[in-house]
Amino acid sequence: MNTAHHYDVAIIGAGMAGLAAGIRLAHFGKKVCIFERHNAVGGLNSFYSIDGRKYDVGLHAMTNFVRPGVKGTPLGKLLRQLRIDRDEFALCEQKRSRIAFGPRGETSLTFTNDFTVFESEVAAKFPSQIDGFRRLIALIKTYDDVSLGAVPESARAVVRRHVTDPLLEDMLFCPVMYYGSATEHDMEFGQFVIMFKALFLEGFARPFDGVRVILRVLLEKYRETGGERRMKCGVQKIISREGRASALLLDDGSEVTATHVISTIGAPETERLLPGSSLSALSSQPAPSGALSYCETITVLDRQPAALGWGEDTIVFFNDSEKFTYAASEQQVDIRSGVICLPNNFDFGPGRELPEGLFRCTCLASYDQWAPLPEDVYRADKTRWYADIQRSALRFLPPLPSPATLAAATIATDMFTPRTITRFTGHAGGAIYGSPVKLRDGRTALSNLYLAGTDQGFLGIVGAMLSGISMANFHVLQPKT
């Protein structure tokens, strides 16, 4: 047997959750190794280069932003637990964002990192709903969303008790679902509360240089604390014996052993490493893959969006139809709704701007329709849908002088599809938000294998890092009683 290495903790996946868990464990003296199949860290929130230009994936904005001095929020907990000074992330706040509904975005709710702006928008646009809306906010503020044992409840049902106008209801659900829901049509109320706080009661920010700043800080901390990582070396099999993960078979054919194993790659993805056994300790059903995937177009501009009259909006959540449908796309892409991100429109400080303009649009897309396409058809379809997605999104931004204006300003384009997501992150079905079934306590059928990250159920990048922290604390660091 060539089990030359034994670790206190082996972590599968070097995304936000894996890195955060690794920092905690290494800080407290555990011998930790992170195994990552890809050549880059970050998982679903990473970056890549084409022609010397760096592109972020995943991150439109970091949610959960609060200003210094605001305590008891996820961002503060994260910084404390990882011993990160908030200046290291150098977060810059959004200017403003909007939820725009109707064929031309006729009904629009603006919000900023100051919640009173959103509240007064609701009061102005939906005067009959404001009292119910305020009751809903009071409920959200007092709800115990981090309880690991809460009884699941339909978010739509709870929200309808307070908000009776279906248009306002859909407008509240659209951003919350797009930024984190792994379930179609509805979500669990606890998950809704986490996302609602993250988006509206807290807010949006980003480092000037995007997600790579956050990854750089995490990697540096992990290195300082003495953690090891193996890149381009995933885990191909978890070998189980007597109800425990007894060894990990790595992609290079070698084996390692570990006292504890934390998998951050998702529930169905972890289950595939366990031939013949079910992952969940509670159910013999296989962990379901998520049905929700996305396409995103990225357009690089030779000028700031402000020069096109788009200087105000940071993020725009849009929907053109009477009802907002958050479900597996029936076509290759569902362009009725989506999210526009203009990364230039964060407040980077006086005279400080990103060197190029960026215009990103995200829509729901069908993994099943993108995955099997032959390469030439895949490329042609990308070109076609790129134009359709962009055309759809343009309806919700201030109009351009002429349809040729945008093309003239464009210097590079890229696009990802559900197939890209699976290829680079290993997520089954291109499901960014993972399985609709979350394992909140992280326990699995194997006593020393725990789940963290997307399928543990804390959402967003701050949520992913807190998930890694919580699972490391709960299963490895805390004394067992």
Binding site: F28, G69, K77, R80, R83, D85, P479
Partner: protein
Amino acid sequence: MTKDETKQAVLDIIADIAPDEDISNLKGDIRLRDQMQLDSMDFLDIVMELRKRHNIEVPEADYPNLATLDSCAEYLTPKFAALGK
């Protein structure tokens, strides 16, 4: 180590795990969690840092002894002494 030095060792830990808290005027006889925003994750970290920095083990049953700075001093000073500190 005197009781005051023990208190300082605890304050040093709190300053590192909660750098956003003002610890300059903490009262010795009032619960730390009533004077600062400290949750159970932070208390776990105080325990873990005592082990990491000073080799002091605090069993879970003894966590209530860490409630105030005064009780920390009462409880931890003999433990420091036992280690020859």
